[in-house]
C-alpha cells in the first residue's frame, strides 16, 4: 500500500469536518451516512492492514478512529444537530470535531428533579421518556421514574442534565431503602 496516501490523510485529518471525512454534504440522509461509512470501512478498517508494517497500521488506525467518532455523531440526530450548530457558530475557526461542555461533576445535588427536564433533551426519541419520568417523580413513583430516565439516557447519551437527574434519583432511591 502506499505510505504516501496514508500520510496525506493524516496531514489533513484534523482539518476535515466529519462530513468531509466521508465525502458527504451536510444534508446527507441517514442512509447516505451509513453507506459512506461502510465504504470507508472497506478501505480503512484496521483489519485490512493486519499484516502491514506497524507504522501503516497505526496511521490507518488513527484515520479509522476518527471515522468511528464521525459516524457516532452523524448517525445520532441529537449529536449531529449539536455538531452542525458548532460548525455554524464557529466562523472561520471551525472546530472540526464535536465538543461537549465541561462536565465537571460536583457531588450530586440534593435538589428534587429539575424543573423542566424535558427541555434539556436533545433527541426526539428521548423526550417522551424524560416527560414521563418527571410526571412519575411528581407522583412519587421513583422506581418507575428511574426506568423512564434510564431509557431517556439511552436515547440521548451523554446528556449531562439527564445523567444528573438519574443520579439524583438513584440517590433518593438509596435513601429510601
Amino acid at each position: 500500500m502506499s505510505q504516501a496516501s496514508v500520510a496525506g490523510w493524516l496531514a489533513v485529518l484534523d482539518d476535515l469536518t466529519y462530513y468531509e471525512l466521508f465525502g458527504l454534504t451536510v444534508d446527507a440522509s441517514a442512509d447516505d451516512v451509513r453507506s459512506a461509512f461502510h465504504a470507508f470501512c472497506e478501505i480503512f478498517h484496521p483489519d485490512r492492514y493486519f499484516g502491514s508494517p506497524e507504522a501503516d497500521r497505526i496511521g490507518v488506525s488513527t484515520i479509522f478512529k476518527r471515522a468511528t467518532e464521525a459516524y457516532l455523531v452523524l448517525s445520532d440526530a441529537g449529536l449531529r444537530e449539536h455538531y452542525d450548530a458548532q460548525l455554524r457558530g464557529a466562523q472561520g475557526t471551525r472546530p472540526q470535531r464535536i465538543s461537549f461542555s465541561s462536565r465537571s461533576r460536583p457531588p450530586a445535588s440534593r435538589s428534587p428533579g429539575p424543573a423542566k427536564l424535558e427541555d434539556s433533551v436533545r433527541t426526539p426519541t428521548a423526550r417522551p421518556f424524560a416527560r414521563r419520568a418527571e410526571e412519575l417523580i411528581g407522583a412519587g413513583d421513583l422506581r418507575q421514574a428511574k426506568l423512564q430516565l434510564v431509557m431517556a439516557n439511552h436515547m440521548d447519551p451523554q446528556n449531562e442534565a439527564l445523567e444528573t437527574a438519574l443520579k439524583d434519583l438513584e440517590t433518593r432511591l438509596a435513601e429510601r431503602r
Partner: protein, 659 residues
Amino acid sequence: MAVVGIDLGTTNTVVACVRGGRVQVAADDHGRRLLPSVVSFHPNGDVLVGQAAKERRVVDARNTIASVKRLIGRSWGSDEIRRSRERFAFELKEGPGQGPLVVARGQEYTLPEISAFVLKRARQIAEAALGETVDRAVITVPANFNELQRAATKVAGRVAGLDVMRIINEPTAAALAYGLGRATHERIAVYDFGGGTFDCTLLDLSGNVFEVLATAGDSFLGGDDLDLAIAERMAEAFLHTHRYDPRSDPQAFERLRVAAEAVKVSLSTTDRTQTRLREVAFGVGGAHLDLDFGMTRDELEMLAAPLVERTFAVCQEALSMARQPVTGFDKVILVGGSTRIPLVRRRVEQFFGTQPLDRVNADEVVAIGAAIQAAALTEVARRRSIPPAPVPAVRKSVPPEDDEPDEITIATQVPAQIAQLQKSTRAPDLSAARAPLTPAVLERQGDPPPDTATTIPRPVAYQDILRSTLRLDPAAAEAGRAEAVPAAPPPSAPSSVPPSPRSSGARSSSAQRAATEVAPDAPVLVDVTPRALVVETVGGWCDVVVQRNAKIPCERTRAFTTSSDMQTAVHVRVAQGEEAVFSGNTFLGEVELVGLRAARRGEVTIQVRFEVDESGTLNVYATDVATGREAHALLQLVGISGAPSVQKMRARHATARLR
C-alpha cells in the same frame, strides 16, 4: 502453517479452518466435531479433555472441570463466582490478584490454564485433520464479555501455544458464517442461546461490511440453567420416593444433571421421555436406590418458559440501544444448542415476526465464522488501495504569519464568501484546543456571523478529491463540479462493491473506483464495546468515557480536575459497566499519574484518553495538561496481573499428559 477459528464454548468447543475457499470443521479420530469443554484430572496423572473428560463427570465430579467459561476473567468477590461455587462440584479458591483458582488433585490451576487444555486439544484435532501445524487462531467470545474476560481468553490461547490473532464476538462470527449481506443491504438479528450465555446482537450489513448496531447479553442464562431445573425436578421426585435428597451429595446430583441434559435433548424431538437411573444413591444396608423419571414436552416448556422470556428482555434492550423496531430485521439467525428447543424457535419467530434461519449447524456456525475471519485477516494481499485524502474546506494548520493566498486550500464547492471569511478571520493555531470532549474546544473566537446558514461550507465530495490536489487549478475545479452530480454506480463495478440500492449522490464514488483495482471479498467487521468504560469521579460516581456499544477502534478524551488541595498525584480508576455508582461496575484497573503541580483543587486539569483497538483492548493514557507529563497504562487487569506468567503456565502445560 495454518490459521484456524475456534469457538471456545461453555459446553463445547469447535475448531474450523478455511481450506481452498471452503470452510472445514475439524473432526477428531472418532469423527466427532464437538469437543466438550471439559477437563478432567485422572488419578494416574493424565489430563483428559473432551468426551473422555465428560464421561468422568459422573464418577469423579470433584476433579472434572466444566463450564469454566462462566468463570474466566471474573474476580473472586464477584457474584458469578459465588453462584458457581454453589452449583459446581469442583473446588475453587481465591488466588493472587483476586483471580479464582481451580483445585484438582492437590494442584492449583488458573482458569485460563484450564481453558488452555481445551484449546490445546482443539489445536491437536485441527493439526491432525489438516496435516499441518496450527500456530494462529481467531477465538470467539460472547459479545458481552468484558475486558477481563477477553484478556483471560487471550492468555488461555497463548498458554496453548497459539498466537491469538483476534478475539471476535460469537454472534458476529455467526453472521459471517451465513455470508449474508453480500448482495444487498440488510439488517440481521443474531439470537445466540448457548449452554451458558445468551446474547442478542443486531447487525447492519452491506457488501463486505458487518456493522454491529448493538449487542446485549446475559452471561448467566443458558441451556445449563434448564438442565439444572430438570435436575431439581428429578431430585424432588427422588426425595419423594426414597426420602433421600440427592442434592446433598454432589456426585449423585451431578449424575442427575447429566441425565437431565439427555432428557432435555430428547424432548426436542419427542413429546415424552422416560428414564431409569440406577444406583443414584444407596439406602439402608447398601440397597441401591434407582430413579424412574418421566417428562413430557409440555412439562419441559413450563420449566423453560421463564428462561426463554428472559432472553427477550435482553433482545428488547439491544433493540432500544440500536433504536430499531422489533420488526425492522430482515433475517434472524439462530446460534447455540439451546435454539434447538422447539419452544425457543416458536417464541423467536413470534418475537421478530420472521422465521429464523438455521441453515448452518447451530453448534458449528460460530467456529465457521471465526475461520472465515481468520482467513480474512491473513488475506492481506487483497486489500483495497487508499484514495487520495480529501481537501478540507479550511486548513487550520497553515501558519498564521504566512499570508500567501495559494497556501489556503479551498474546496471547489466552498462558496466564495466563505473563502473570504476564512482568509480574513484565520485564527491563531488551535492545535492545543483541538482535543475532543474537553471544555477547551467549546471556546469560540468571536461572535457567530450574522447569517449562520451560509457559513457551513459544502464539503468536498470524493468525486472532487479525485480531481483536485492540495493546490487547486481551475480546470480541475471545473471537472470536479461536473462530477458532483449524483450518478449511479458504474455498471462495470465488481460485484464485491456494495451495490447498495439506497446509495445516493451524497455517497462517495471513490470507494467504487478504487475497487476496480482489487476486489477483496474478505469481510470487514465493525464491532462494538459491549459495556461502557467509565472512570471514577468524586463521591464514588462514574463518568462515562466510552459509551456502551461504541464502534471500535475508537478514542475518547475527557478532562478532569483535581479534587483536593495540593494534590500531586491522581489515580484514574477504570471500570466497565452501566451502573451510575462506580463500585457497581466491574473494576478493571487504574492508572497513576504523579508529579502534578501542587495547587488548589480544581486548578490542575488532567486529560484522560481511552483508546480501544480493533480487538477491543483498552489503553488508557492520563496527561497533565499544564506540564504535558503523560502516564500510560495498559491497564493492570484485575485477576490477570497476579496470575503466574504465561511462560510458567506453558511450562506446566508442556509436562501435562494430554489425552
